[in-house]
């Protein structure tokens, strides 16, 4: 049996037996990855993620079945929203007006209070109506890359006042390109240098915008 022969017609037989009462009439195929020689078939119903992995399909079908219950991320999001609403509500209730003119028809907290009550109401509604999403976006494969990107961009933003535009941009570019898998090492440094130089030239020299000099102020 090769990849093309193993079609969706074959799958229910395995899924019925191996995916713990999974009902084929409700299944929804969402992803088929053909990373030869392993073939992975994944699909989701409302509550479960099922995956069948086939090894060495040309000889024997070795099946490995993964199944996990989908957690309801929407409920968690709704709870976070509720907490945000409560924090704002607390701040609005404990607000003590300072110099606001009493003759104003609306106090400084009237309008925000309406918004907060609306927000809390909608969050509750969202919580009540939330259902597990069979097509949720899975970031398990990219979470490390995302974390790295956040850290690098955070480092760049933090170093900008200390190193100035040119130096911080150059360092950022080199690290970012390396981490993001840019493998042309001969070009890496020139690209980073040229980009940083271009931004410095345009903003600091041509447009005459005052940028932080950071530690380089001592070299002036």
């Amino acid at each position: 049996m090769n990849v093309s022969q193993f079609t969706t017609k074959h799958r229910p037989a395995y899924s019925d037996n191996l995916c713990f009462g999974y009902r084929t009439d409700k299944k929804q195929e969402i992803k088929i990855q053909n990373d030869s020689p392993e073939i992975q078939y994944c699909w989701r119903d409302h509550r479960h993620l099922c995956c069948i992995r086939l090894y060495d399909t040309s000889v024997v079908l070795n099946l490995e079945v993964h199944m996990r219950k989908l957690y309801n991320g929407h409920r968690l999001t709704a709870l976070v929203f509720l907490v945000i609403g409560m924090v704002f509500l607390r701040a609005s209730l404990s607000f003590e007006p300072g110099f606001a003119d009493d003759s104003l028809a609306m106090g400084p907290m009237a309008y925000p209070s309406w918004l907060i009550y609306g927000w809390i109401f909608m969050s509750l509604l969202y919580f009540i109506t939330a259902r597990p999403d069979p097509d949720f976006i899975d970031i398990s494969k990219s979470k490390l890359a995302l974390l790295r990107a956040v850290l690098i961009i955070g480092f760049y933003f933090f170093s900008f006042p200390w190193l100035g535009l040119f130096a911080s941009s150059f360092v950022f570019f080199v690290i970012f390109l390396l981490v993001e898998g840019y493998r042309s090492y001969k070009r890496l440094i020139p690209i980073a240098f040229f980009s940083a130089f271009l931004f410095w030239l345009v903003f600091e020299q041509l447009l005459m915008i005052s940028m932080p000099r950071g530690i380089f102020i001592f070299f002036d």
């Binding site: 606001a100 104003l104 309008y111 925000p112 927000w119 494969k141 995302l146 840019y182 447009l207």
Partner: protein, 503 residues
């Protein structure tokens, strides 16, 4: 009006302004051609470059980018069957089959002409419509009516959010709530500082915009494409404009689709993508070549392209006349102009009509400059589409940082932008629409200010009695209420059905 137009022409036609406009058009088309980036990222990325330019030059750059980015998206839709912008999705349905038949140059010719005509017709609507709307607003627009209008716009945008409308409403409320941080626009009292003194002036617009669009896009691309595949576009170095006789039987489609684009562009929240598909299906229904749609029919291209470019002028009508944007791109245009001291709205139309008409003329020229820009972008498309993603993302991050820092010179805005980027990315993962968040944030201060004014005017009257003084406000609030409560009631009714299937 003629004097103002002539004055605007003299301000606009300087070699420097036209050159900047052309650069904007080419830049917009290039960014538009890169799948996933879109108009908003293009505007935000070029924003730092405008900050030291004069107002007219800055508007020229922005109008160039705004006008051409959707067109750029259509080039990739035709040549690689991947729309560069969501608005160009329908273009690929007929453009790519044409290109596969070896008619890529002809397809791009149809796309270019339809885009330009749609854009130009929308400019005419803008020149005629915006002053009329502003005049109407001056006549009938008290604080109550403005509140009604803002509420209606927000309700439309939130409730028309794809998928889950509750999410849209939550995001709209989130934007309004975010705008309340800092000082109260009426009394000047500080609110919601949570011990962070830097929040006293509120959260600036640029960190919000930069976080929501380019930074969230950078995170999204890192999540989505861990390895960049080299795309081989259909070879095409130029375009061939359709001959006059080829237009026989297609002009009506061109005008009808443009009108649909303009009309839906004026309405808040509908968006260019929806308008494109409305035009496409309408054209399919009425065209005598309807059975050929989806197989490489020029009428399909005309419908999609004229409509999505006609949106530009249509969407600018409420933005320029009332200062109320109906979509993220126009909200960004409004925000960008505000950074240059040009605050779109009724007062601008009355006090500085020359600036307003200059903007309109610049949009017209931007549409015309798409012809030379098209030749450049199409020739360079093979390089554009395979530009290394890490380099592109790195450049976007640097532009974002500079864009956040330059307007205010405040370091606090930089981490705020990063936090907003992470939040916007998380929202995107949860399929929350970010458009209502931005529009709510932009319109929030206006809404609060007008509500405060309305409350002062109301005096000792009851709310109902005060509302009774303005039938227009009643209509606007009713429409807003209708849009708001429909999506709220829908899931509750569905829940009732699920609990009691027999009933």
């Amino acid at each position: 009006m003629l004097n103002e137009i002539l004055s605007a022409v003299s301000m606009t036609f300087s070699p420097m302004v036209v050159l900047i406009l052309f650069v904007g058009v080419v830049f917009g088309a290039i960014i538009g051609a890169m799948p996933g980036l879109g108009t908003c990222v293009a505007i935000v990325v070029c924003l730092p470059f405008t900050l030291k330019l004069g107002p007219i030059s800055a508007i020229a750059l922005l109008m160039g980018v705004y006008g051409s980015s959707i067109y750029g998206g259509s080039i990739s839709a035709v040549l690689i069957n991947t729309p560069g912008t969501p608005q160009s999705a329908a273009t690929g349905m007929d453009g790519y089959p044409m290109a596969k038949k070896g008619l890529s140059r002809e397809a791009l010719g149809w796309v270019t002409v339809a885009s330009i005509v749609g854009g130009l017709l929308s400019c005419v609507a803008l020149i005629v419509g915006a002053p009329q709307l502003a005049a109407l607003s001056l006549k009938y627009g008290g604080p109550l009516e403005i509140c009604g209008l803002i509420c209606m716009g927000l309700a439309c945008i939130s409730s028309l959010s794809e998928g889950n409308q509750i999410k849209g409403i939550l995001m709209g409320l989130g934007g309004l709530l975010l705008a309340t941080i800092g000082n109260d626009p009426v009394s000047g009292e500080m609110r919601f500082l949570f011990g962070i003194e830097d929040l006293a002036g509120g959260i600036s617009l640029m960190p919000v915009v930069v976080g929501i669009f380019p930074l969230a896009e950078v995170f999204w691309r890192i999540h989505e494409t861990r390895s960049q595949e080299v795309v081989q576009p259909i070879r095409c170095n130029t375009l061939i404009f359709p001959r006059l006789k080829q237009w026989k039987g297609r002009v009506v489609n061109l005008i009808r689709s443009s009108m649909i684009g303009i009309g839906l562009g004026i309405l808040p929240g509908v968006g260019a993508t929806a308008s494109t598909f409305v035009s496409y299906t309408t054209a399919k229904k009425f065209s005598k070549f309807g059975d050929r749609f989806g197989k490489g029919e020029p009428d399909g291209l005309i419908a999609a392209e004229s409509s999505n470019n006609a949106i530009t002028g249509g969407a600018l009508i409420p933005t320029m006349a009332l200062g109320i944007p109906g979509e993220p791109a126009t909200a960004l245009m409004l925000a960008s102009m505000t950074l240059h001291g040009i605050i779109p709205g009724v007062r601008l139309m009355v006090d500085h009509p020359d600036v307003v008409y200059s903007s309109f003329i610049l949009l017209i020229i931007a549409n015309l400059l798409m012809i030379p820009a098209a030749f450049i972008v199409i020739r360079a498309f093979g390089y554009i589409i395979n530009f290394p993603t890490p380099v592109l993302l790195g450049l976007i991050v640097i532009c974002s940082l500079v864009g956040v820092y330059i307007p205010s010179g405040v370091f606090f805005d930089i981490p705020v932008a990063l936090v907003m980027g992470i939040i916007a990315f998380a929202m995107r993962l949860g399929k929350f629409p970010v458009t209502p968040l931005l529009i709510g944030y932009v319109l929030g201060p206006q809404l609060e200010f007008n509500l405060s004014q309305a409350a002062i005017y109301m005096g000792d009257m009851t709310l109902l009695a005060y509302l009774g003084t303005s039938p227009l406000a009643i209509v606007l609030f009713s429409v807003a209420g209708l849009f708001l409560f429909m999506p709220i009631l829908k899931p509750i009714m569905q829940l009732g059905k699920r609990v009691n299937p027999a009933g």
